[in-house]
């Protein structure tokens, strides 16, 4: 089993290299040079040139790419932010907790509600309950997060004045942004759960469980849902990854100083090291989450575990 894990972790290296390469390339295409960006519009051209030279900006693309990778591998150095002249990694470490907290809270929320409602809909297929849940799921899925966010601000902050609309200084501040992200994810979770459960409750082993005298709750949650878990875990995993990306929207709308808003402001100011590092950070995180998902599979399904052990 651990062999499999090591193999998977080693496989991450080429993936991440590819990501760096692509982002580096795209950034390379954008106009402007770091010297000018750091020193500002009014700086003298020779100062700018000197700085560019020192930063290695005038070297060929591949040499720069190689140096970038080398700095990361040998010194864990991701470069200094153009805007602040401080290491980007420090910035990310300050901002990441905000994003992570929001993502965890919304994954938790949308999974709990999405799965329970989805299961209920499947068990009560063709009833009014099922239809209401399905419609609700559809509405949730099609509402774009920035729009939901705006509506919630209008209702809860401006009209009712219950909750703050921006910032992250207290727990209360998180409620609206978390809800905003969770609602969209909840919609798709409900629909997925419903469809995998519909399939699961028709299986023979579910009938076996009933024939054993197991109460309906146990049949549904203990037997059927356990088998439906695989697709659900995958979806929760990618939802978690997606929420990091979704943070870009909600953090901007709700003005939360997380990585999402950091990436947006870095792009605006063409702070290339910051953008690069954030992207790399997200890519690594996402790959690790998906690795966890695959390992969780083995816990849930002995057939997959057997495959991992044998491979």
């Amino acid at each position: 089993m651990y062999k499999y894990v090591i193999k998977r972790i080693l496989l991450l290296i080429p993936v991440l290299l590819g990501v760096v390469f692509i982002v580096f390339f795209i950034m390379n295409l954008t106009p402007g040079d770091p010297g000018r960006l750091i020193l500002g519009e009014s700086a003298k051209q020779e100062d700018v040139d000197r700085l560019n030279d020192r930063l290695g900006f005038n070297k060929p693309y591949f040499v720069r790419f190689f140096n970038y990778i080398k700095d990361i591998v040998t010194k864990f150095d991701f470069g200094l932010s153009y805007a602040t002249q401080k290491p980007v990694v420090d910035q990310i470490l300050i901002k990441f907790p905000y994003t992570l907290k929001m993502a965890i809270a919304s994954v938790f929320l949308s999974t709990i509600f999405g799965v329970t409602l989805g299961v209920t809909a499947a068990v009560k297929q063709y009833t009014a309950i099922d239809s209401s849940i399905t419609v609700l799921a559809m509405v949730f899925t099609v509402m774009p997060a920035y729009w939901t966010g705006m509506l919630m601000i209008l209702l809860f902050s401006i009209k009712l004045g219950w909750l703050p609309a921006s910032g992250a200084s207290s727990l209360k501040h998180y409620i609206l942004p978390v809800l905003t992200i969770a609602i969209t994810a909840m919609g798709s979770m409900m629909r997925l759960t419903r469809s995998v459960m519909l399939e699961a409750i028709r299986q023979d082993y579910v009938r076996t469980a009933r024939a054993k005298g197991a109460p309906e709750r146990r049949v549904v949650y203990g037997h059927a849902l356990k088998n439906a878990l695989l697709p659900l875990i995958t979806s929760v995993g990618s939802m978690f990854g997606g929420m990091m990306g979704g943070a870009v929207l909600s953090e901007t709308v709700f003005n939360i100083p997380g990585i999402g808003s950091y990436i947006v402001s870095s792009i605006r100011s063409k702070d290339i090291p910051a953008v690069m590092t954030c992207t790399l950070f997200f890519a690594t995180l996402f790959s690790l989450i998906m690795l966890c998902v695959d390992l969780l599979y083995a816990f849930v399904d002995p057939r997959i575990k057997a495959k991992y052990v044998n491979s």
Binding site: A211, A214, K226, L229, P302
Partner: protein, 327 residues
């Protein structure tokens, strides 16, 4: 005569959807005594499995309707029981073995856990964890599986072994009635005999009554005291194994089933095909339901539903014999 364990009276089940009504079981009656075995024979779609599921009240509740009938088990009409009381019967008093062992076990639970679940659900004796585990080992050994394999998952077992696990699970609580729905059909021929022999041995040892659902006359000849032959949701012939295998008179469908009627000594054959198809259960013919395929069919058969012709323990649902009487 020993005590009646199960008595089914005038059971009628339909499956109703928006589009059509399937008349799956039409007014059947039979009874079963303690530690006896009844064979339910018939083609696919004759209503055998529906009957079995009705006994456990496990019919799909969205489509299936029990229009009438009583199922008296141990003196109680189980049609009137609360769901809670019914759950106490399922798995403890009446167990069922399903046709396909490949899908009957939960793939993500160890076989030991699945057997233990049955025991824990019906834990009247208040067994502790250890006692349950001990019993799990016991029943596994009983069906010929080493107890140390209880922590394996279903995918690590072959088809025959899986069916053994299913049987172990069904017998774990020592039920009074075991319903076996084509328990060997999905298995290899060589394994079939083994599993069947084991089931018979266990039934005799545990004194369990059994309903054996099959389309294999060989199995019936080997295992059953009584036989009910089903066609289009009706029991068209009912009697002791002797009545069926050695009797003089038979329903034309039974005759067709046997091809020529073998006796118990000669090895019984498999079903030989009969001309024509089973009638469409959404649109059953009037009169005798076998009439479109029957070689002895008369006008009366097409018009009138036949009544049972009874001689001793033997019942035949056919005009052929009652006509003779009236002549």
């Amino acid at each position: 005569m020993s005590e009646k364990l199960l008595e089914v009276k005038n059971l009628e089940v339909i499956y109703k959807t928006d589009l059509e009504t399937v008349r799956a079981v039409n007014n059947i009656s039979f009874s079963l005594e303690k530690s006896q075995t009844l064979g339910l024979v018939g083609e696919t779609g004759a209503g055998k499995t529906t009957t079995a599921l009705a006994l456990l009240r496990l019919l799909p509740d969205r489509t299936a309707r029990v229009l009438q009938g009583e199922i008296v088990f141990n003196g109680k009409n189980i049609m009137e029981l609360e769901e809670k009381e019914m759950r106490d019967i399922r798995g403890e008093k009446i167990s069922m073995i399903f046709q396909d062992p490949m899908t009957a076990l939960n793939p993500v639970m160890t076989v030991g856990a699945q057997i233990a679940e049955a025991l824990e659900l019906h834990n009247d004796a208040n067994r502790g964890k250890e006692a349950v585990e001990k019993r799990v080992n016991e029943v596994l050994e009983m069906v010929g599986i080493p107890a140390m394999r209880k922590n394996d998952s279903p995918h690590q077992f072959s088809g025959g072994m899986k069916q053994r696990v299913v049987i172990a699970m069904a017998l774990a609580c020592e039920p009074e009635l075991l319903i076996a729905d084509e328990p060997t059909t999905a298995l290899d021929v060589t394994i079939q005999a083994q599993v069947l022999a084991m089931m018979n041995e266990l039934r005799d040892r545990l004194q369990t009554a059994m309903i054996m659902i099959t389309h294999d006359l060989g199995i019936i000849a080997e295992t059953c005291d009584n036989v009910a032959i089903m066609y289009a949701g009706e029991i068209i012939e009912y009697g002791t194994a002797e009545d069926i295998f050695e009797g003089e008179q038979h329903h034309p469908y039974t005759v067709g089933l046997f091809g020529s009627i073998p006796n118990l000594e000669v090895e019984a054959r498999r079903l030989s095909p009969i001309d024509g198809l089973m009638p469409d259960p959404t649109n059953l013919p009037e009169g005798c339901k076998f009439s479109p395929r029957c070689p002895h069919c008369t006008d009366k058969c097409r018009r009138e539903q036949p009544a049972y012709y009874e001689t001793g323990t033997h019942r035949i649902l056919c005009h052929l014999y009652s006509k003779e009487e009236s002549l």
